[in-house]
């Protein structure tokens, strides 16, 4: 969707960032005894505004967690660190993408963090199947958009 922006291979930064994500997941387990699944945490935080089915009543730390997520890029900018980002300007496409991501993670009980990071670390067979499914679906979607429809 939109022009392809080349990106550099950044193994060390990516590994370092991944280690921070892992540390956070361990903090959430050690402190609150929960999986650090962002779709679930966002749903819990959202239920403050919009009541929802089957959401835990323990919302306080989830709202705070989302605020922490939001503060992260601002903290980076504050210390003068680079925040590189290219988001598609195809707003209709982004709306459809957002809807699918929200609906899919709610129905499938997790996303890249809950199934990907936490589920794989727990050696959960459900999460392994979910990860393979969403990776294949995502790669197939990119292939179709870029190489079949896009002609790139």
């Amino acid at each position: 969707m939109g022009p392809i922006t080349p990106t550099e291979f950044t193994p060390w930064l990516s590994l370092g960032g991944g280690i921070l994500i892992g540390l956070s997941a361990v903090m959430v387990m050690a402190l609150f005894g929960r999986i650090a699944g962002i779709s679930g945490i966002a749903r819990g935080a959202l239920s403050v505004l919009l009541p929802s089915e089957g959401v835990s009543q323990d919302r306080g730390w989830r709202v705070a967690f989302v605020l922490g997520l939001l503060a992260a890029p601002l903290a980076m900018l504050l210390v003068g660190a680079p925040v590189e980002q290219t988001v598609s300007g195809n707003l209709f496409g982004m709306m459809i993408a957002g809807l699918l991501v929200g609906v899919g993670t709610a129905i499938g009980s997790g996303c890249t963090s809950g199934h990907g990071v936490c589920g794989l670390a727990r050696l959960s067979p459900r999460s392994a199947v979910a990860v393979v499914t969403f990776m294949v679906a995502a790669a197939a979607t990119v292939f179709i958009l870029r190489h079949v429809l896009g002609g790139a």
Partner: protein, 145 residues
């Protein structure tokens, strides 16, 4: 204290997303583009995150209870049902279109890119609607609850 620790956990997670490149949809889409401008960086994100979590969880579970809660609450289901597969496939398609999964989309919000400002409200509506749809009989796994 709960709120402060929740905030701190979210901040560390968000910094990880930004530093790793996971919060940059261009990088995510290039990772998913095996036939094109493939950027394997995100495999390192997953390896680092899952590796630390694998070890850290086992250390955390040595305690009798979490610091701020009474019990560890970890999913116990092992059934591979229709909602799991269908939901993951729908999520994957959306991820492949926009390059955002839920964490990076939220953490990218303060950067105010127009695409993000459209994506996040749609995702939040989708999360709410998906939870409702899951309670309908067509998606309820047989014999659950």
């Amino acid at each position: 204290m709960r709120s402060f620790l929740g905030f701190l956990s979210g901040l560390v997670f968000g910094l990880g997303l930004v530093i790793s490149g996971m919060a940059n949809p261009a990088k995510v889409l290039n990772f998913l583009d095996l036939a094109g401008a493939w950027d394997p960086s995100l495999a390192f994100v997953m390896a680092g995150a899952a590796g630390v979590t694998f070890i850290g969880y086992r250390l955390a579970w040595r305690q009798s209870a979490p610091v701020m809660s009474e019990t560890f609450d970890v999913p116990t289901s092992t059934t591979l049902d229709r909602p799991l597969i269908a939901g993951a496939a729908i999520f994957g398609i959306g991820w492949g279109i926009g390059g955002f999964c839920p964490g990076p989309a939220l953490t990218a919000l303060p950067l105010l890119a127009p695409g993000t400002l459209v994506f996040v409200p749609a995702m939040l509506f989708g999360l709410w609607f998906g939870a409702y749809a899951k309670s309908l009989p067509i998606l309820s796994p047989k014999g659950a609850n």
